[in-house]
Assembly symmetry: C2
Homo-oligomer: 164 residues x 2
């Protein structure tokens, strides 16, 4: 019989055996987070693939579609999505090439670059949301979803995020 | 006063307002996972930077150092680390360039490529483990570390991982 094992539990045992007991639980947590992120992103990517979107680009479109006039300054996009300005620039550049976003200078302040969602962008983000909702978000894989989200919020708060 | 808000909680409200209540909790969970992964990896990368290692390369060295004779077939390395063969190949190639791993053909079966940790590899993985333990794993940022790891294990199990 093939002995299957949990590689994270096995690493935890090794940590204790090497005298790093104080760090064993934290190591298991971080390794579990990396693994779960990988598993969840595989499902997210599969749901978004037919729409030719990455999760980063989906989040840009989603956020723009929620604003009153469908546009935001690039800097605000980055701070709302909590990602690096360079990542926003590359996501928006790709979205513009796809015809889902248009960039322009603000009339009020020529130094400000605005990103605006197009009609095609609105269409694709609605379709992608349906895919994500039915294929991923409505089937999270565990019962206590709010409990897990609350524990993750504690981690976010400890790192300085505003939560609640 | 600047009104700070939790962007994930805000998205959850939007989901409910758009009639996607059934998917709102799952959306918040997935988005929280992505954010926590990003925050934790920033800390991991900072701890590993002085050792010129990524977490993927660290995990390869850590696993090899735990084996009896410091080597494993490439295919086994991939299955133990639960990553794509192409990722293992690129991590090991980089580690070989750094002098931390040596690749060779198995004497028993010439089709099998073995990855073996070098003395320099053993040295760097011990130093990197001390950094990770003190800077990240011993300061996870929440109290109920085993509780969070257990909930993440449920997600892993639902996706087909062996856990426990």
């Amino acid at each position: 019989m093939l002995a299957r094992m949990d590689p994270i539990r096995e690493a935890q045992r090794q940590w204790v055996a090497h005298g790093w007991a104080d760090a064993a639980d934290g190591m298991a947590l971080v390794t579990s987070l990396v693994r779960v992120h990988q598993l969840v992103m595989e499902r997210v990517d599969a749901a978004l693939r037919p729409h030719d979107l990455s999760f980063a680009r989906y989040e840009v479109l989603r956020l723009l579609s929620f604003t009153q006039d469908g546009q935001l300054p690039m800097a605000k996009l980055g701070s709302r999505l909590q990602v690096h300005p360079a990542s926003v620039t590359s996501a928006v550049a790709r979205l513009e090439k796809q015809g889902f976003v248009r960039r322009s200078r603000s009339d009020a302040d020529g130094r400000v670059v605005l990103a605006a969602i197009t009609d095609a962008g609105r269409e694709v983000v609605e379709a992608a949301t349906v895919s994500l909702n039915t294929e991923v978000f409505e089937k999270p894989g565990i019962e206590d979803v709010p409990g897990l989200t609350a524990l993750l919020s504690q981690l976010r708060a400890a790192a300085g995020d505003t939560v609640g």
